[in-house]
């Protein structure tokens, strides 16, 4: 595992800041089927899947903190939950390295669910004594569906933003292995002919 380059750090900061601004200035004001999309868990999930658990965790913490600051919420709530989301997504990448095209959808939905439940739990732990209403559950479910639909484009966009700065891109790693010999059956054929 190599240390993140300054270029990657700058891009992550840009993605995080842009994501929070777009979330608060645009997405949060755009109700879809009575609920809003939530970019934060999707961004954190994408960073976790692309950069690993450490970067995912740090990014989650940072985005959560920024979101708490901007929304004037209790500091630390979103950061704690998103930290877990980013770390989990990163661990998934490190342990399983899933390659399916639809992986971001499933992981995005799971991240949204985890964020929603975790945030609600922390709010209740902090003393919100109102009972859980059906409206809250319905909204959580609606956000889950919307986020699942948005997960793939968000993941693609984040990957495009970080392109070239990722130090250990699994796809690039595989590509490099094929083109530098060793793993490629074509290169093996060339060696046999020689």
């Amino acid at each position: 595992m190599t240390a993140p380059t300054p270029q990657l750090l700058a891009r992550l900061a840009g993605v995080g800041l842009l994501g929070v601004v777009v979330q608060t200035a645009f997405i949060a004001q755009l109700p879809i089927a009575g609920a809003n999309a939530d970019l934060s868990p999707l961004l954190v999930m994408a960073i976790g899947l692309l950069c690993g658990s450490l970067a995912g965790g740090c990014f989650g913490f940072g985005v959560g903190l920024l979101a708490d600051v901007v929304a004037l919420q209790t500091l630390g709530v979103s950061s704690l939950v998103l930290l877990g989301v980013g770390y989990g997504a990163g661990r998934l990448r490190e342990a399983r390295d899933p390659e399916g095209t639809l992986v971001p959808i499933a992981v995005g939905a799971a991240a949204t669910l985890a964020f929603g439940i975790g945030f609600a739990l922390l709010q209740f732990l902090l003393g919100v004594d109102a009972p859980v209403s059906w409206a809250l559950l319905r909204q959580l479910l609606a956000t889950l569906v919307i986020n699942a639909l948005l997960a793939l484009p968000v993941y693609a966009l984040v990957r495009r933003c970080l392109q070239g700065a990722l130090p250990d891109d699994p796809r690039r790693r595989r590509r490099r292995a094929y083109t530098t010999g060793g793993l490629s059956p074509l290169s093996r054929g060339v060696e046999i002919r020689r």
């Binding site: 595992m1 601004v21 608060t24 645009f26 755009l30 450490l54 965790g57 209790t74 630390g76």
Partner: protein, 288 residues
Amino acid sequence: MYDKTVRRRRAVLGLLVACSLILLTAYFGESGGGALHGVQRGTSEVLNPIQEGASRALKPVRDLFGWFGDTIDAKGQVEQLRRERDRLRSEVLTNEIRKADYDRLSAMVELDGALGLEDKGLKTGRVIVQSATVWYATVRVDKGSDDGVRVGQPVINEKALIGRVTEVFGGAAQVTLITDTTMKVPARAGRRGEFGIVEPASAGNPNDLIMKFTEPDAGIRIGDRVATRGTEPDDRAASLYPVGLPIGRVTRIENEGTDTEEIHLRPYADMRSLDFVQIITDPRGGER
């Protein structure tokens, strides 16, 4: 190397979790003017212009999305709103009918009070059949002999005299209107209460009655009220109509001052829209 990486990762994770918890605890524990709140406000103030700019820049996009959303929502609501519109339309209609009924009945009660008809055995009924021709001659009401209705009893609505009962059934009665050519009503008009007989001016015109047999110098003027005469002490037979039931207002006078003077009047009651009526079942009640 692997152990070092894992240790490092876990250490960072632990550190961040600890940071979060410390932040959370400190923020939650401090007052509104605490350091963390101050930092949060300061950061928000710095970010506010950025958010405002972004919000303004993205407004057209937001509006576009909103337009799509509103359009889809509106399409979904069309059917529901149509149903609601139909229901409300029906409710409004019912309420209007009820209000009209209420107004008529109120006016009727007021008229009864003004004319002192409360002790004359009033039976309030509803017009169930109206003559479908242009003659506006008869109506049928839902009160009959079972309710004490007899032939000859006068009938009024909320405005004035409209006719008298000419046929009676168990639960209904036929009323011949004062616009029918067979009807003649003894009446008085003018300041001196000049006598005359009111009858239809022409068949099929519910807005024109004529008062005949008035004295040429009776002094009746346009606009004078015409009401029923009632029974005078020296009359040989009692009139069917109690005294003072309003009939109409003088609209014009033909051959004024001659023996063939004809006083035209317009009835107060609109014979084309009769709904509630009252049958005076005891016209001489209170006089005995």
